[in-house]
Subunit: 373 residues, 2 copies
């Protein structure tokens, strides 16, 4: 999705892809296939680029530090990026530097430490692996002291050798989840997108509503301020997504950070004056940032997960006939069940209508709605 | 510009490009380089495609007829497309079948015929080559009887061997030019975009304003009806642009037809619910068409012509700092003076502001405005 604005702005985008069949590699003209965990591969790739950026945070920090030492522009830089790669580092830095709102948390060195943390603050608790989590992986909800071995054993299996720490966190019985997207350029210009409400199921984002319904202007400003402060503190370049949980008393705490165009910002392609993908590129190139505001009162994005639909494009026959303003984005991925393979966006004046339109289309594309075929 | 919606909709777009350095060939993944005038090249290319479409009308009709005879889907088909390739055929068909409004015109077989036509309706007159015209080429304004050889000799030089006829046309001292864009699918669904005012200079489109200022609803409907009737009469599939001249008494006459996404529809990328490029694809794939309406009260597009600016992307520093809502599209073309190398779009509530923003940005990108650099 970064490719379209790259073409529009006259930017040559070169991709380092994990394999020739990944979505981006099937559409981008200039593709190198290789392993981003291999230093030589990344260095050789980077040699032909003016600036390096990412659509995930998994490139090892030591490789990125090597690029920076060689004088390459890496944006976001490894000093910033590690706070999206390492949840422990993120909690430590944001708590110490900004006293940023967080669930009660503790770095737990072993199962006994995790048990002690749970006994102290009350069960259930959440355990998180510091590294390698994605879409609910690397997060455990622990009902009581007997489960405390699991995060340590399971995270080690998934870590591919990198050291993984375990963080104990208060289980926040949140009223809802939200996210705020910030984009920041190397020269320090930064803007905030409107705050979105995000709906997750089994750790996977299913839907966003922008702006977050019922959020007061004061709360929205406070959340934007928090996001801008984090972007500035960490010297982020490009997109920063701050995932938030809102407690039942209205206060928000930070859940996670991402430093890249983010699923909760996909609505911006059709719903904002400047998409997160274009603004990420503009930031990375140190061009002035585009207006992040919404073009319509409400914008809803619903993810399309792989289901029992084989031909997504064919299913558009129904979706487009039903809704001439429906916006659709497919990712060109293999259709594995439960995998995010696309999204739909609707915008308009009436939230209920907008949400119903988006949910219907996504449901149909997931094979969950059979009428009208 | 068709590539971005193709990616979004999960459509594999394969390009037959004239050369490896044309704009589209530099960004599209699946490119075959070859001559669209060569039957074997086109047939071999078409063999791997489910549907064939175009971004210009220059593929010879006989090659397209061959593809159709082989059972390929060609959209728009040659029977429709020839009316955009051959201005004489267009005038004949639209006059006979629809009595569509046109300047007074006549098929002139030789200079003497052209002279007689001019003497009859009064000088100056316009002469047009039936084929091969583009951006003002193939059109002559003749002040008097002495110039009547020129169209015949000059058109022969430019025709590359295809037979070229000369049409004499009344010189319409128009109040303004306009265009209406229609998109039509094989199943007959068709929609009209809002009518645009278009500003041409030396035969090259420089600017569009949508909707055309001061056009009454009744006139706009009448023009949309005319466009829809033409699309239906010619059985167009995909985009149809009907270029119009408005006489000083308010009546419109048809100037030319194009059957492809058209320069006067570039505003739709940012300004309409569904861009002309997406709707062209949807039509060609026989998917239901998207909403063609404008998202804002006013939308202005200004073309960027190659000038003394070498690095367009670098010049965005000024443009984006000045206007965070500016939309920019570069075409990846070599920057020859006078060549269309991109466009800018602005939209909003106040036409004067919107137009000034767009003109300033385009002027800056053409090297005509030096302040603020």
């Amino acid at each position: 999705m970064m490719y379209a604005p790259a073409i529009s702005l006259g930017v040559n985008l070169r991709l380092l892809a994990e394999g020739p069949q990944v979505g981006a590699a099937r559409v981008i003209r200039d593709v190198v296939v290789g392993d981003y965990n291999d230093e030589a591969t990344v260095c050789e790739f980077a040699a032909g680029c003016d600036v390096i950026t990412f659509d995930h945070e998994h490139v090892p920090t030591r490789i990125l530090r090597g690029l920076v030492a060689d004088g390459k522009l890496v944006r976001p830089g490894p000093d910033a990026l590690q706070h999206a790669q390492d949840k422990l580092l993120m909690r430590q830095r944001l708590t110490r530097a900004l006293d940023a709102p967080a669930p009660t948390w503790r770095h737990c060195l072993d199962p006994a430490g995790l048990r002690a943390f749970g006994d102290e603050i009350g069960w259930p608790i959440i355990a998180k692996a510091s590294r390698g989590g994605y879409d609910g992986h690397g997060v455990w909800k622990l009902a009581g002291p007997t489960d405390c071995e699991r995060p340590f054993t399971e995270s080690k299996d998934a870590s591919a050798g990198e050291p993984v720490e375990i963080i104990g966190e208060e289980f926040v019985d949140f009223a809802r989840e939200m996210s705020v997207l910030i984009v920041r350029s190397p020269s320090g210009q930064a803007v905030s997108y409107p705050v979105s409400e995000t709906i997750q199921l089994d750790g996977v984002c299913r839907e966003t509503v922008t702006p977050a319904p019922g959020l007061s202007d004061a709360q929205a400003s406070e959340i934007a301020r928090l996001g801008l402060d984090i972007a500035d503190e960490l010297q982020v370049v490009g997109m920063l997504a701050v995932e938030l949980m809102q407690r039942r008393d209205g206060r928000v705490v930070i859940n996670e950070l991402a430093m890249r165009p983010h699923n909760t910002g996909h609505w911006t392609i059709d719903g904002a004056h400047t998409s997160q993908f274009e603004n990420h590129l503009r930031a990375v190139l140190d061009l002035p940032l585009g207006d992040p505001r919404a073009r319509d009162p409400w914008c809803v994005m619903v993810n399309v997960l792989g289901g029992d639909v084989d031909d997504l494009t064919g299913e558009l026959l129904h979706c487009f006939a039903r809704d001439p303003r429906l916006r659709v984005e497919f990712y060109g991925k293999q259709l594995r069940p439960g995998r995010k393979v696309g999204h739909v966006v609707c915008y308009g004046d009436d939230l209920d209508q907008v949400r119903n339109r988006a949910r219907h289309a996504a449901g149909h594309l997931m094979g969950q709605i059979k009428e009208g075929r």
